[in-house]
């Protein structure tokens, strides 16, 4: 056990936050190193150089703690480690590992800093870096906000480099040469005389050494990369093409039982009473369980998910009333009553020139915009397998928030946090849905009714869509003035309910005070210089509980800001692309606009009779992204012909997947701009399955061309930024082709699509 004892003294010192916290802020808690969680489970002769690399005589394991919802995060995390470790990522075992505080996300909160992403001053960078401190203290091992690559870009390459150099050190001692004389390739240390030592053979010796200290400056320059920046096969692509990828819903355990639930379709409403007598005798039914955790309801445990679904439908429930208005019209009334009302003022992070004077001196152009509630509706519905042991709980599930789940499960079962073991599995999509955990809470309570037996709770599609915490509905009012063929005054008010605070509160019990940036994210922070320019956020009262939906605030604000800008440009009589370029104050963004013009062959919005093109732009998650869409009015309805996407990601690490994320975000944006909304009737969504919530299908998908720029200095994540420009690009194209300006999503309420 000597080796284990030696490395148990090691602590995790890699990572900007530990260094930053200690040096720049002196916060004891933030500076305190976090123990390497891999050290606990090490066998004799097994080496864990840091929380990300484990090597034994049997093989190499890479820990990829950011969850994979389909965006390719496991693959890129493995590539980042492998680039410095000098291995083929497909030769290693890739696993998210056990969740732990060491895996906190140091980048995800930096979006919340009240400085636009295009400002890169020292103050801005310091403020963004500081956001890693609360992320560490609150143990935010979280996947989201397009933050995986920005957060992991240095951390994981350093992890690979430290492991490589420590293995070389072990080889150097064995061979009696100095470490600098050794080289590495494909999992092997090569001696000056050509002798080869496999990493796996060096693991036992390396485990006895202190890891070699490496700095960011020691990392290889991009010019020497062999994996990053090159077309590479996703590590999960074969499994996902052969039905062998095991998602949470696919997990099978010995003796497992299957559960379904009907919970109050009004989120947060009580279960007043129920009659399960019709379900009790049904085939396959083993137990009926009243559930209080998460959303209250009644569950059935059976020998097959379908038996459980069928039995649940036979249960008669009397539901209590939830704490929000029952019908969509009342929700809109709440937003209408809150917008431009002093009592609901939340923040004004942009206020340039003198908007009031300008508006008073002319007859302003005015317009009102709306964006509906939306469900996430990933293809794989929410599910979790939970096994309650005597002194431990095991949870297998796809999740973006494993530590929040751990803590909540422990509280429900009355155990210590450390007794809960969360096993994160690949996800069939999420789009933010798996930033919530009511299904996990329910699954824990259900499994507690059958101790020792693993129980898999699967939400039916209807249960999933009626208990989703949706994207908030939003209302925007815009006022503008044009002069001399230019946009002179741009003033918008955006109103929706708060998102970040209530989410943090229900997941962690922590209270987040202050303004809620999500209300105007994607409009206040755009890289334009307009003489009189103002964006104001108003916070509506809490309505139905809402959550983050792919691209969050920018999903609505991107539509509001860019479409209203398009309207003013039209009023001014200017060309939509040229005027955006003229107004742009950020070099990388301007180049993105210019590039999309070039790629699409832009020569004006008018493309002839019944045809038109529109441009949309939004900078979100630090990525400027511009899209052009071409449409034709046909007898069958409006047809989307072509779409062009240009984004500046700073550095393209995984070009094949990067392209997929960019057109995927565009398609997701179009899907909801055209076809989808959640409306509330009697406290519940009226749309609970795909027949009423279409998304986009192949026949409506345009031909798409993607171009990636790398002018911005820093590496960025791309899971979200191509979504916000999609709706405005399409709406602006429809206006160009038909003269009809659509100011509310989904567009199919106002125009027929082919």
């Amino acid at each position: 056990m000597g080796a284990v004892k030696t490395i148990a003294r090691r602590s995790f010192l890699i990572g900007s936050a530990a260094i930053m916290g200690g040096v720049a802020f002196g916060t004891y808690m933030a500076a305190r190193p976090i123990a390497n969680p891999l050290e606990d489970g090490l066998a004799e002769g097994e080496a864990a150089f840091n929380p990300y690399v484990k090597i034994s005589s049997d093989g190499i394991t890479l820990i990829t703690p950011r969850a994979d919802k389909g965006q390719g995060s496991y693959s890129i995390q493995a590539h980042l480690i492998a680039e410095e470790l000098d291995i083929d990522p497909n030769s290693a075992t890739i696993t998210p590992g056990a969740p732990g505080p060491a895996y906190y996300n140091g980048a995800v909160l930096s979006e919340g800093v009240p400085i636009p992403a295009y400002v890169e001053t020292q103050v801005a960078e310091t403020a963004r870096a500081f956001m890693a401190v609360p992320a560490k203290l609150f143990e935010m091992q979280m996947t989201g906000g397009s933050s995986t690559v920005p957060d992991m870009f240095v951390k994981l390459r350093l992890a690979g480099a430290v492991a490589r150099e420590t293995l070389k050190e072990a080889a150097a001692r064995q061979l009696g040469v100095s470490r600098s004389e050794l080289t590495t390739r494909d999992g092997i240390v090569v001696a000056p005389d050509g002798q080869e030592l496999a990493y796996t053979a060096l693991a036992a010796e390396a485990a006895k050494l202190e890891p070699v200290v490496m700095q960011e400056a020691d990392l290889r320059p991009a010019s020497e990369w062999r994996i990053l920046g090159k077309p590479f096969q996703r590590t999960d692509i074969v499994a996902k093409s052969t039905g062998t990828e095991v998602y949470g819903i696919d997990l099978q355990l010995e003796g497992m039982r299957y559960a379904a639930i009907c919970a109050n379709p009004g989120i947060g409403g009580a279960l007043e009473s129920y009659d399960a007598s019709a379900a009790e005798g049904m085939r396959g039914v083993e137990k009926i369980v009243e559930v209080k955790a998460g959303n209250a309801g009644v569950a059935v445990i059976a020998t097959n998910s379908w038996y459980a679904f069928r039995a649940v439908e036979a249960i008669e429930c009397v539901w209590g009333t939830p704490d929000y208005p029952g019908n969509s019209s009342e929700h809109w009334e709440a937003l209408e009553a809150s917008i431009d009302s002093e009592a609901h003022f939340d923040h004004r992070q942009r206020n340039e020139g003198d908007v009031e004077v300008s508006l008073a001196s002319a007859t302003p152009f005015e317009a009102e915009y709306r964006a509906p509630y939306l469900a996430h509706a990933p293809m794989e519905p929410m599910n979790a397998v939970v096994q309650i042991g005597e002194d431990r709980i095991d949870i297998w599930t796809g999740t973006q928030i494993p530590l929040f789940i751990r803590n909540r499960a422990a509280a429900i079962a009355g155990m210590d946090n450390d007794a809960v073991h969360v096993h994160v599995l690949p996800m069939g999509g999420s789009f933010g849905h798996r930033l919530e955990m009511t299904h996990i809470e329910q699954a824990v309570e259900i499994a507690m009714a059958m101790p020792g037996t693993p129980v898999k709770l699967t939400w039916s599609r209807e249960e999933d869509m009626s208990h989703d915490y949706p994207r908030p509905a939003a209302l925007m009012r815009g006022r503008g003035v044009v002069a001399d063929g230019k946009v002179d005054t741009f003033d918008i008010s955006v109103c929706q309910q708060g998102l970040a605070g209530p989410w943090m509160g229900r997941l962690t019990g922590l209270t987040l005070g202050g303004p809620d940036a999500t209300i105007t994210t994607g409009s206040w922070d755009q890289p334009f210089g307009i003489p009189n320019y103002r964006v104001t956020g108003y916070r509506a009262p809490d309505l139905v509980p809402v959550s983050s939906w792919r691209s969050v605030g920018a999903s609505t604000n991107g539509f509001f800001h860019d479409t209203f800008l398009d309207e003013l440009i039209h009023e001014a009589g200017a060309d939509p692309l040229e005027e955006r370029i003229r107004l742009c104050i950020h070099d990388e963004s301007r180049k993105v606009l210019e590039a999309v013009g070039e790629l699409s062959g832009w020569d004006g919005a008018d493309m002839g009779e019944g045809r038109g093109r529109g441009v949309g732009f939004c900078m979100s998650f630090g990525v400027p992204c511009a899209e052009v869409i071409e449409v034709t009015q046909t007898e069958a309805g409006l047809r989307l012909d072509k779409a062009y996407v240009v984004a500046d990601v700073g550095q393209a690490l995984d070009p094949v997947n990067l392209e997929a994320q960019l057109y995927g975000g565009l398609i997701f944006g179009l899907a909801h701009a055209i076809n989808s909304e959640l409306t509330y009737e009697n406290y519940r969504p009226a749309q609970v399955n795909y027949h009423a919530y279409e998304g986009l299908r192949l026949y409506q998908t345009p031909q798409i061309e993607v171009k990636v720029l790398e002018n911005a200095g820093r590496v960025r994540g791309v899971g979200e930024p191509s979504l916000p420009p999609a709706a405005p690009a399409l709406g602006n194209a429809i206006f160009a082709a038909t003269g009809q300006r659509i100011r509310e999503m989904p567009f199919n309420k106002f125009i027929d699509f082919a």
């Binding site: 389909g70 692509i237 095991v246 038996y307 995927g664 795909y690 026949y699 998908t701």
Partner: protein
């Protein structure tokens, strides 16, 4: 009752109203076919029954002939012994979350069984019944063309 699943005879003792999907997944442990909607709107559960693509969430096992031949994604091809459609799916790196891809691949394989040179309109029409939320459609179109070429040259 008896089903022949991926070339193996399997015994089932379930309620005859049980959809084939849930017999495959929870009784036989064949989890390639996915549950997405339960109402034939997404196609994630697509399998071949006697050589035709069907939505297994809609086919009650009691309505199937005894010994019916069922092929799922696992039976179409496996890592190391891939079907041409799977090869094309891997070459084009179609999958993102991948959850719908079992159904997409089974639908595409059936399309190419019936028509080894589908035009764009046919591909759009046939594949539009399979929903993908990640938006992998551009590569689905491309991969079907590659797979068609592989099959024609085979």
């Amino acid at each position: 009752m008896k089903l022949r699943v991926n070339g193996q005879d399997m015994q089932l003792d379930v309620d005859p109203e049980m959809p084939l999907l849930w017999a495959l997944r929870d009784e036989l442990g064949v989890t390639g076919p996915k549950y997405g909607c339960g109402i034939a709107q997404c196609g994630a559960c697509t399998v071949h029954v006697d050589g035709l693509a069907v939505r297994s969430c809609q086919m009650n096992v009691g309505s199937m002939e005894d010994g019916a031949d069922v092929t799922t994604i696992e039976g179409l091809g496996q890592p190391g012994a891939l079907h041409a459609v799977q090869e094309a799916w891997i070459e084009h790196q179609v999958a993102q979350c991948g959850y719908c891809q079992s159904g997409q691949i089974m639908q595409a394989a059936n399309l190419l069984d019936l028509n080894d040179d589908p035009d764009d309109a046919t591909i759009d029409a046939v594949m539009s019944a399979n929903l993908c939320r990640c938006g992998t459609y551009p590569r689905i179109r491309a991969a079907i063309k590659t797979a068609a070429q592989k099959l024609r040259e085979a």
